[in-house]
Amino acid sequence: MVCSLSSLGSSFLRESYHEVLLMFNFLCEGLLAVFQPLSFALMCFGVMMGTIIGAIPGLSGSMGIILLLPLVYQLPSDVALVMLCGLYCGSMYGGSVSAILLKAPGTPSAAATVLDGNPLANKGLAGKAIGVSAFSSFIGGLISTICLIFISPQLAKIALSFNAADFFSLSIFGLSIMASSSSKKVMKGVLSGCVGLLISTVGIDPIVGNERFTFGNYRLMNGFPILPVLIGIFAISEIFINLRDRDNPRKNIEDQKIAHVFPSLKDIRFFLKASIVGGVLGVLIGIIPGTGGAIACFLAYNVAQKISKKPEDFGNGSLEGIAAPEAANNGTTGGALIPMLSLGIPGDVVTSVMLGALVLIGVRPGPMLFVDNPKIVYTLFAGMFIVQFLMLFFGMGFAKFAPKVLKIPAKVLMPMILMLCVVGSFSLANQLYHVAIAVAFGVIGYFMKSFGLPGAPLVLGVIFGPIAEENLNRALIVSNNNYATFFTRPISLFFLIMAAISIGYAVYANRRDAKRG
């Protein structure tokens, strides 16, 4: 008995050792891939673009990814992936720059940075505020990357035992969580998701080969391509809104000298605790699908205030008040990538757009990615690691140019973005029809925003639609059309219960908030 237990223990240790060695090996290969000239150059480009896009109010990380899609389409998948990661992390940090200088967060994730970043800038210490933000973003990003490297392969290993019924329920869970968290009114989120699922059914059905909702139009037989849909919903609709509201004046930036960007050792020692706490909280929030930086930054801000030795400084330019939310929103990046990579469920809006971009270049995130293509996964891990250092480097460097970038008027920027959208959607298949689809979805996206319908569940519906249908069909064939299979499989039942809880809780929260007024 003792002998068999010890042999079991030693085989487990041997297996774990082998696994760690393999992981280390893959990581080294990933690092080599990341330092290839093209990968490295595009990673730097991604971080710079992300920082600039994040800094400009009205542009977001998801829009940045969409604008880079034509380029993504031309690149090897691992190179494209690290560039997108650079953009994602860069945009998270970039949002803080306008929060500090303009008192207008560039992205929702930087909303809490305004509270202390702007007061510090008003004291003439904008450079210091940006420096603290860049350094904390680096700490948060590093923590999230380490968690990403260690958690996602384990989660993927669990997901390998899923069958078709489990994957169908997982898709429902992913959609429900995005629908319930992306809108103040949960039903609108669900409706948006339904529209996405409906769009995915247009064309030849994948099971029998029947035409669905094509109305005799041969162009619709292939369904709606995802790139023009993404461009329309996230970019062109934003251009319409910007044009409609062009008379609303944007805040002007005051000329001020940006100096002392790199924080002193004394300052780092002072805000390091808040950065670490913010980073860890960011990862935890980021892992929960459908949440994201906006929630994490306020939570981290509150926690940092509670544990601070100088809580009275919060709101008056506290370094900890900048460090905690900035570490938290960058902590969500790796956190949000965990469910996206290992389960195929995006953690936030930007990762849902990133998921669309990956599908476009033939990379299907999910547990099989770790088995079929570990090179891509570990290149991403290595890329995320290096991106944090690049973000720190470019973040500090960008501080001096930030006031100039923020002065670019929307009347010049938006038409350029529109041209990029037109050419980008054309580039997918060299067809003007795709541009027309993008414009049409831009109009749909505009009306959706006007009626308070969120765009993220729609995009997720378009992506998950075929996966859910395929798995529904497979599960029913295996079970001889027995629908009970979705409730008798423990994993499937778990996801369905979680989906019901997420919708149920959101409905309850809506009603509670409505009663409170």
């Binding site: 034509p70 009114k185 409706l191 339904c194 010049v412 003007l432």
Partner: protein, 152 residues
């Protein structure tokens, strides 16, 4: 009923009707002996749509049925949007005939004008530069052939 809840009521009704149309079309599709036929999945989506649409409509209707006066908010903004939409479709229609290099500067100039850019010289310069840069990047670098139109 305030204006917001009226628009939500309309949204609910719209989705309920859309769900009914999809349901009817889905039920007409052929069925399958094993697994699902082509109509089952759209039918499933339609049912959720009808339920959620009805909930949104009923929930908002319960606040009262006072229809707000129909006034277009920000009329100039809406007109600008309409102009952009028409200009874009006209641009797409003419793109194959005239070509990207010749037509795009005019389109971009017009869009900048819509956005309120009134410095003619810089508008012309930015329009031409953006077009040439995009053409260079996409055609020369990515090997994507943009419509050449009369230049071909």
């Amino acid at each position: 009923m305030n204006k917001n809840s009226f628009s939500d009521f309309c949204l609910g009704v719209f989705f309920t009707l859309l769900g009914i149309v999809v349901l009817v079309l889905g039920l007409r599709m052929p069925s399958s002996q094993r697994g699902i036929g082509p109509g089952v999945y759209p039918t499933f989506i339609a049912i959720i749509m009808i339920i959620c649409g009805a909930v949104v409509a009923i929930e908002n209707a319960m606040h009262g049925l006072e229809i707000p006066s129909f006034v277009i908010k920000n009329k100039p903004g809406m007109l600008r949007m309409l102009a952009l939409l028409l200009a874009t479709f006209l641009y797409l229609y003419l793109l194959d005939i005239v070509g990207f290099l010749l037509l795009s500067p005019f389109y971009m100039f017009f869009v900048m004008w819509l956005y309120g850019q009134r410095r003619w010289k810089s508008s012309i310069l930015i329009s031409i530069l953006t077009t040439v840069i995009l053409y260079g990047v996409f055609v020369k670098l990515f090997r994507i052939f943009l419509p050449t139109g009369i230049l071909s």
